[in-house]
């Protein structure tokens, strides 16, 4: 593993890496030429299926398999929605790919669209990414100017348009059906599934939704082959485990010396990420805990840092999953309630409000945290947080989308893993009131901005 050469980030750092000439000098657009030169859409789907590629956007669904859910022989149109909403706190790998190697992303989109017979791709990009937006648009313009996009590409019957579509600062637009609703010009309220987007998605047509990093893997799978891809990462352990194959972009931020986005084979551990790439916990301090893959995935203790960050690893220590493989490191000075304050206020702000358990549960937990931080916590609040955590989400079956599960996991993990610290904090900061059982008033919520 020490000699692993970056693949997805290979061009990042080169001068003008975002321009067409540089991309082509480094072997760019060979994969799409190869595919147009003699592969069928089914060939591409089969290749991606056998590669074991799983979605990098958070859910880890096998990409090739998802494409097979599209109706056969559909007259069209079929749409591709490229998910570049990237709003999961601590995650920035999509941004780096789009800013520094937009043509790699575009080639990935071309391959994905060829395979799924989509002829229009909408790339939904969060509005907070102005540089990525500009680089992508100029890369798309370069492609139209050189006949790589548009009608009858390379003289074949493959045609493709890619349109950038800007979001408007709402995390929920990353959820695939929220994205579709938003694209259609509506509030980004996630849809009840089924039907899944593959059957009925954008504009009520079959739709593929894929993440930027997922698509960026495609040119390499086509160029280097399935065996190469499967030689990287953690193999499947049995028929029910699809494995964790391929290179992965790991983000590390928070209390490390060298925050950044680093590429490694799937299965890197948190400790390796921090020590080998992140320059260690900052200021010579000890690490205490971490977010495993965006805040939605819950909380890992320092003792759990040797668990591989592959699709199966975080679940073994009670986390929700690999998520975006974006790690936030917290040193020994961070209190468990500090962590919960940051996560709960995020989800309270970002709940779309459609499902009552999520809307009320997230804002209630934020108010509880505010009260605890103001020295008015009760031991009972720990139980309340746990109850809210157990009551909201797809897991208990009370909400439409997974945002609520993401809100629940930090609370549940915190109570399971740090109950002693929580009790001690409340007793210390509220010596006279920690035992109160009766309902207490919420603090006046400070209304901040939007």
């Amino acid at each position: 593993m020490a000699d692993f050469e970056p693949v997805l980030l290979a061009n990042v750092g080169k001068a003008d890496s975002w321009t067409l000439p540089v991309y082509e000098q480094n072997g760019g657009y060979q994969a799409i030429r190869k595919v147009l030169g003699g592969m069928s859409p089914v060939d591409v789907i089969e290749t991606v299926k056998s590669s074991g590629l799983r979605g990098r956007g958070g859910a880890g669904f096998p990409t090739g398999l998802k494409w097979t859910f599209l109706p056969k022989d559909h007259p069209g149109p079929i749409y591709m929605c490229v998910n570049a909403d990237e709003s999961e706190p601590a995650t920035f790998n999509n941004r780096i790919l789009m800013e520094d190697d937009p043509h790699q992303v575009i080639e990935g989109i071309m391959l994905g669209c060829f395979a799924t017979r989509a002829r229009v791709a909408y790339l939904y990009i969060r509005v907070e990414y102005p540089t990525a937006y500009k680089r992508l648009q100029s890369a798309i313009d370069e492609c139209y100017a050189t006949g790589k996009l548009g009608q009858n590409i390379n003289g074949t019957d493959f045609s493709l348009d890619i349109f950038l579509h800007r979001g408007a600062a709402a995390y929920i637009c990353g959820e695939e059906t929220g994205l579709i609703e938003s694209l259609e010009g509506k509030r980004a309220w996630p849809r009840i599934k089924p039907p899944f987007p593959a059957v009925e998605g954008a504009f009520r047509k079959p739709t593929v939704v894929n993440n930027i990093e997922t698509l960026a893997c495609l040119p390499h799978i086509i160029n280097r082959g399935v065996d190469w891809f499967k030689s990287i990462g953690i193999p499947s352990t049995g028929p029910r485990d699809p494995g964790s194959y391929g290179p992965k972009l790991y983000c590390v931020s928070g209390h490390v010396e060298k925050p950044g986005c680093y590429e490694a084979p799937l299965g890197l551990t948190t400790r390796e990420l921090i020590e080998r790439f992140g320059g260690g916990v900052w200021k010579g301090r000890k690490g205490k805990m971490s977010v495993p893959g965006g805040v939605s995935m819950g909380l890992m203790t320092e003792k759990e840092w040797d668990i591989p960050l592959d699709f199966a690893g975080p679940g073994k220590v009670g986390c929700l999953g690999l998520g975006t493989a974006a790690v936030t490191v917290m040193d020994e000075t961070v209190g468990i309630f500090d962590y919960l304050t940051y996560t709960c206020r995020f989800f309270a702000h970002e709940s779309c409000g459609q499902c009552t358990p999520c809307r009320e549960g997230t804002s209630w937990s934020e108010r509880i945290l505010q009260r605890i931080m103001a020295g008015k916590g009760r031991l009972k609040d720990i139980e309340l947080l746990n109850t809210i955590g157990n009551s909201i989400g797809i897991t208990p079956g009370t909400t439409i989308c997974g945002l609520a599960d993401g809100a629940a996991w930090p609370m549940k993990n915190a109570v399971t893993k740090y109950r002693d610290e929580m009790e001690a904090f409340i007793k210390k900061t509220n010596p006279n009131g920690w035992g109160v059982e009766d309902a207490v008033e919420a603090l006046q919520l400070v209304q901040l901005g939007h």
């Binding site: 999961e88 010009g185 928070g254 961070v334 940051y342 939007h450």
Partner: protein
């Protein structure tokens, strides 16, 4: 041309200039229906007017062949679009976890103090609107800010003071 006053600002109707209309119409061929141009249209109006005034909504709706309520319903979901103009420069301070761990909340406080506003507020001279943002996707540079399409990296409370002056200067230079 009729004039309408709302939110303390006087808008001359029609609010959508021929240029704005042309820009919006250019998006129609991209989508199978006009409703999908709602967000692009709101962005275009917002960029030109630094807000989306209530009075503009019927005009946008007419272009998109929607009812004003449909456009307003969508607009109101996204906190990004405001009815009243934001400052010449609009700035966001990240308050999510990776920034908070490195002093993001302190940077937000310092910026607020220096500019004399609360989060979401605009300076009295109309030059700068300061908001908090959730993770801006630049956590490797935490604590981070975004203003005028530029990311400000590894902020400290002291730098916030300097940046407040710089943002005012940018506003004087036209935003």
């Amino acid at each position: 041309m009729a004039a309408g006053t709302a939110n303390g600002v006087t808008w001359t109707k029609p609010i959508l200039t021929p240029e704005i209309r042309a820009e919006i119409s250019a998006y129609f061929p991209r989508y199978p229906n006009k409703q999908a141009v709602t967000l692009p249209a709101l962005h275009i109006v917002n960029e030109k007017l630094r807000c989306v005034p209530m009075e503009a909504i019927p005009e946008i709706a007419e272009m998109l062949e929607l009812s004003p309520a449909q456009v307003h319903d969508t607009l109101s979901f996204y906190g990004f679009f405001k009815a009243e103009p934001h400052g010449t420069v609009r700035a966001w301070v990240c308050r999510s976890i990776s920034c908070a761990l490195r002093g993001g909340d302190e940077v937000l406080d310092a910026m607020c103090n220096k500019l004399g506003v609360k989060p979401g507020g605009m300076t009295a001279d109309g030059k700068v609107t300061l908001e908090f943002g959730e993770c801006l996707g630049v956590c490797e540079h935490a604590p981070a800010m975004l203003a005028n399409d530029k990311v400000y990296k590894n902020m400290t409370a002291e730098q916030a003071g300097l940046l407040a002056d710089e943002l005012r200067a940018q506003a004087d230079a036209g935003g």
